[in-house]
Symmetry: D2
Subunit: 338 residues, 4 copies
C-alpha cells in the first residue's frame, strides 16, 4: 500500500502517518518527491489496514499495490486450470458448447432439444429448473421435477448437465442431479451461496455479475476456491451499460483479460448477453475468436412458445448454422474442434 | 401490449400476428398508420405472452403498456404507506435518522455510539452483524454475538434496531433480535431471501441494487409485498456508473421519482452511496431536500480504527454537525422535525 | 508517478525500469516490499512520460500521484473564485437562478418569460439561439435572430443573458450579444472551442460532458483557464447511466466534490439532468442543499407548445412554486438569499 | 407515435389528447384496452410533435414507432453501401486493415511504419496530425506538418490515408491531404463539424461517441448523409462503462446490430477500445468474426517512445502476429482476404 500525502502536508502530518504505520506493526518507507511526500507501507496484507488512515489529515490518496485475490490469480498458478465436468474437459483445446432451453418446460421438449444439440456436437445440456425472475408474477421454473427431467435427458443422450442453484439450502438437492452447478449473475455476490458451492465438490459455473468488475468477479471465484473447490469455470454474460438496443452489453474484452489475470477457464453466454437471437451467432463466433473456452447457448425447438427468454433463443436451424460456422472457425484457429 | 410491425411487413405477416393473438385468447386491434401497421393486444397480463411473438417475421418492436408491478404502485394505493418500526413511524412527517457503525465490533463501542446518536436525535440504530464482503479475506462480522450486542444497545438507549440479513436461513435468527431486517444491495435480486422476508412479519429495509433500475427495485419490493408483508421501506444507496471519484453515484433523482410511482417510504444512505465521509453531510441535506423520509448514516467513535468502511463513516463531531444542519433544514421545509 | 513491478519481476527487469527513468532525466527511488518492488519516479510532470514504460516487461501498474489539472485546483488557489457576470456575482453567497426557455422561439414569448422570471428573483436569462440537436430533422434554433431577441429581453428586464455557442467560429458573434457563453455537454471535449472561449474575455458556463468524470471536467476547465480566461462557472447537468426512467442521472455528488477539489463556482441544471419537469423542483432544492452556487432552469409560458424539451420545462406556476420553496430553503442554510 | 393514458385517466382527459392531435393536423385512433386507453397518432413525422403532449394530464407514456433516422437505415436502402476510399473498397468482401501510429511524430518514423504495415497487407495508413487531448498540457500533434508527412508516406507506399479533423474550419485543409476524414469520439455530436464534412465530398470515418447509443451514432451519420455525402464508414471504438480494467469497453455487439439496422460499413478500433496492447490481437479477431468490415490498429515501431498512447500500440512483431492470425481467420469465414 502506498499513501500519497497532499502537497500541503506538514512534516508533523507526515510523521503522524508514519507513527500510525508503526503502531499497526507495518514498516514505513518515506520518499520525498518534487512537491509531496509518499509513504510506502510494507508488510503482509497491508492494504487491509487502509481504514486506519482514512481520517488522518493531509492524505490525498491510498493506493493498493497487490491484487486482492490470490488463488484465482495467474501469479499463484501459472498453468491453465482444466475443469473436468463428468468427463468433459473445460479449459483445454476443445471449445465446449453447452446448449439447451432457458427453462426446463416439459420432458418431451427437453429430450427433443437435448437430442438435437447433441447431434450437432454440443457436450453439455443447459436448462433452468429454479429460475430467478425479475417479476414475482413470471414463471419460476419446475423445481425438482425439472431436475429429474434433466437427469433423464442426460441418460438418454450422454450429455453432461448444468443447472442453476439459487440458494445455499438447495445446493445438496441440485448437486444430486447435475454435473455442474451454475451461480447466476444476480447471485455473484451472494456470499452464503458461494461458500456453500465452495464446500461441495461439484464444478461451478460462475456467471459474472451484471455490474461486477473483472476484479470483483475473480474475488467471487476466490470465495469458492478458498473453501477448497478448485473446479470453477467463469462465464461472461454481459454487463449493464447505458446502451439499451441490446439487453446487456456482452463484454468480450473480459475474455482475453481474464486469461491474462487468471488460470481459470472462461466461457461466454451470448444469449443472455445480447438478448436478441439474431446477434447470438456472430457474437458466439467473436467469443471463440477472442479466446473463450466454450459457449452457453439458449436453444428451443419453438422459441415462440418458450415460457421465458424466447426472444434470445435460437431455434434448431439457427443452432445448426451456428455450429457449422463454429466448426469452420475453430478449424482455422489454434483451438481444436471436438 | 403493442406490437409495431416493420414498414415492409406484408398483409400476410400482419395476419399471422393477429392469428397468434387470437390463439392465445387475447384481443387484437389493428391500426394502419402512415407507413406501418400497429397491433394493440388487449387482455389481462398480455405482456406476459410477449415471447409468443418474438420469432414471428416483420415485427419491429413489442412495447408494454402497463407497469409490471402492482402492489408497489401508487396506482394501486394512492396514499403514502407509513411503516411502524417498533413504534417509530417511517414514511410520515418526521425525517427518521438511522445511525450507527458499519459493523458491530464490540459491546463497548456499540453502546458508546448508540448513546451518542440517540442524544442527537437518531431514532434507529444501524449495525452489521453479518457482513457481505467483496473479499473472502475481509472481516465478515460477529454474527449472532453482534445481534446480541444490538439487542443490549436497544435496551440501554431505547433506540430501535436495523441489521442486515444475508440468507433466507438466517431470517428467523435475525428477526429475533431486530426491529427491521435489512436486505442489502448485493441481495436485491436474491429472490429466495425476498420471499422469506416477505413471509415474516418484520419491517424490511430494501436497498436498491447497485445496478438496478427504479423499476427493478420496485419489482423486488413487489416480491416482498406479494408474500403478504406490506412493511417495506426503500433505501437509495448509490448506483454503479463510470464515475470513480465517488465509490458509487448516489442517485437522488430516485427519491422524488419513487414518491411519484409508489406509496412506499424511501430513505437515503449517503455513506455507502458516496464512500467519502466529507460528502455525507451535504448529500444528507440534499436527500432530505429532495423528499427522503429518512437517512441511514454510518457513525463510528474512531473511524480510523473501524474494521470496515472507516473512510465513509462520520465521527461524533461530524455527526453532530450533520444533525445541527438537518434541524435547520427540516425546520425550513414542509416535513416537520422530530 | 509510481511504478509497481510484478511479483515475478527479476532484478534485471527492475534495473531496466530504473535505467529508463534515468535516461529520461527523472530520479528513481526503489523500494522493496514484502513481495514486490515499487519504483518512485520523481521530477516535474513525471506522469507525462508514462508511455515510456508501457512496454517494459514485468510492470504491473503505473500510478500517477499528482492531479493532472493545476489552475483549476484548490491546491493552486485555496479561496473561492467569484465570477462577475455583468454585475451578477456567481460563486458568492447568493444562490443565482438562471431561467428561461430551452430555445428562443419568438420575441414575444421570450420577453414574456424574461419578465416573469425576473419578477420571481431570477438574475440571468437563459435561452438557446444555436441548438445542438441529436437529429438533423429537429428545430436547430433561430441563430443570430435569437441572439438579438435575447439582447432585447436583457434591455427590457435588466436580466443578464447566457446562451450556448456551438463552434469556435461563432464565439465572436455570440459574445457580442451575451454576458456569459455556454459550452454544452456535447462540446465539453471540443478543444478547439474550449481554446477559443479561453482566448475571449467573457465568462464561460462549462457544462459537464454526459460521460465525463469530474477529473475530465476540471481538465476541460483547465483548457479555458490556461488560455488566460479565469471566469469559468461549472454546471452539473446529469451523466449517462443504465437508468432510463430519468433522461440522465443528475449527479449531485459532483457538487460538494468539485467544491473540495476546485475553487471554481458550480451550478446545477435539473431540467436537462432529469428530463422530467415533475423532478425539477425537488432536485433544485437538493442541489442548493448540496452546496450549488446557482441553478439553470428551463421555463416556458406554455410548455406544451415548446419547440424543444417541453417535457422538462416548468410553466410559470411551477417556477413560482420552486422560487417560493427555494427562498425558504436558502433562508435556513448558510448561503444568503438574493 | 402512441400515447398511453394512465389507468385513472377520465374520458375528458382522453378527449383533450384527441383534440390536441387534431389541432396539430394529425389523425388520432383511440383504442380501449382492459384497464386504460391508448391513442395512436398517425401522420408523417408525428413524433416530432411529442412535446405538444408533455404537459397534458393523465398521460403515462409517449412511445415513438418509427426510427428517427432515415437515410442511414436499412429500410431506406436494403443493399450494403461500399465506400470507395481512393480505390480501396470499404464495406465489401475484403476486411480492410487501417494501421499506423496514434500520432504522426516524425517523417522517418511514419514512413518506417507505413512501409511495414503495407508489407503485411494493410491498405490504409492512419496517423493523427491534430490530436484531441484530455489535458491541455499533453502533446497536441504536429498539425499541417503532420498532414504533409502523411501525404509523403502515401506517395512512397501507395497506402491510402485517414486522419482526424477537429473542427469545421480545418475540413478544407485536412481534405487536401487525406483520402478519408476521421471524426473522433469526442466530436460525434459536434454538429457544426458533421455538417461541414457532410458538405465536402470525402469519405468520412465516423467514430462512435464514448457514451452514444447505436441510435445516436446512426443519427450522427444521418447529419452527414443529409448534407449529401453518402460515403460514411462507422467505427466502433469502445464505450464508457463502470469497468476500469480496460480503458473503455469495446462493444462488439454494435457490429452485427449496425449491420442489421443500417447499410453503412462498420469497422472496429480495438486499440482505443481496450487501451491495452495485449488485448488488441484477440479483440481484432473477435471483431472480424462478429462481421466487421475492417480494423483500425495503432502500430508504432517503438511503443515505449510514443508521444501518445504507447500502452495500446502494437509493435511490428505484434502487428505481424495479428495479420498472420487474421489471414487464417478470414480464410475460414465468409469474407475473403485481400
Amino acid at each position: 500500500m502506498i499513501i500519497v500525502m497532499s502537497h500541503q502536508a506538514t512534516s508533523a502530518q507526515v510523521q503522524a502517518v508514519v507513527d500510525r504505520v508503526k503502531e499497526i506493526g507495518l514498516r514505513p518507507e518515506v520518499s520525498f518527491g518534487e512537491d509531496r511526500a509518499v509513504i510506502g507501507v510494507i508488510g503482509a496484507n497491508a492494504y487491509a489496514y487502509r481504514e486506519a488512515f482514512s481520517h488522518l489529515p493531509a492524505i490525498q490518496e491510498i493506493v493498493p499495490i497487490t491484487k486482492p485475490y490470490k488463488l484465482a490469480s495467474r501469479e499463484f498458478q501459472p498453468r491453465d486450470t482444466v475443469v473436468d465436468v463428468g468427463g468433459v474437459a473445460v479449459g483445454g483445446e476443445e471449445v465446449v458448447v453447452m446448449a439447451g432451453p432457458c427453462s426446463v418446460e416439459s420432458r418431451e421438449m427437453l429430450v427433443e432439444t437435448a437430442r438435437h444439440v447433441a447431434g450437432q456436437g454440443a457436450r453439455i445440456l443447459r436448462g433452468g429448473a429454479f429460475k430467478p425472475r425479475t417479476s414475482p408474477y413470471s414463471f419460476q421454473g419446475l423445481g425438482k421435477a425439472g431436475l429429474e427431467m434433466l437427469a433423464q435427458a442426460r441418460e438418454e443422450t450422454g450429455l453432461r448437465v448444468v443447472s442453476e442453484v439459487l440458494s445455499a439450502s438447495d445446493v445438496e438437492l441440485v448437486s444430486a442431479y447435475v454435473d455442474m452447478l451454475q451461480v447466476g449473475t444476480r447471485n455473484m455476490q451472494n456470499y452464503t451461496l458461494l461458500q456453500e458451492v465452495g464446500r461441495c465438490g461439484k464444478p461451478v459455473l460462475l456467471k459474472r455479475g451484471m455490474s461486477a468488475t473483472v476484479e470483483e468477479w475473480l474475488l467471487a471465484a476466490e470465495y469458492i476456491l478458498s473453501q477448497g473447490n478448485r473446479n470453477v469455470v467463469l462465464c461472461e454474460r454481459g454487463i449493464r451499460t447505458f446502451e439499451t438496443s441490446t439487453r446487456f452489453t456482452l463484454d468480450l474484452n473480459s475474455v482475453p483479460l481474464v486469461r491474462e489475470l487468471s488460470h481459470l477457464p472462461v466461457i461466454v453466454d451470448p444469449s443472455q448477453g445480447t438478448g436478441r437471437w439474431s446477434l447470438v451467432r456472430p457474437m458466439s463466433l467473436a467469443a471463440v475468436a477472442a479466446g473463450a473456452h466454450g459457449l452457453l447457448i439458449e436453444v428451443h425447438p419453438r422459441p415462440d412458445e418458450a415460457l421465458s427468454d424466447g426472444a434470445q433463443s435460437l431455434d434448431f436451424d439457427g443452432f445448426d448454422r451456428l455450429m457449422h460456422d463454429l466448426r469452420r472457425l475453430v478449424g482455422a484457429t489454434t483451438a481444436q474442434p471436438a
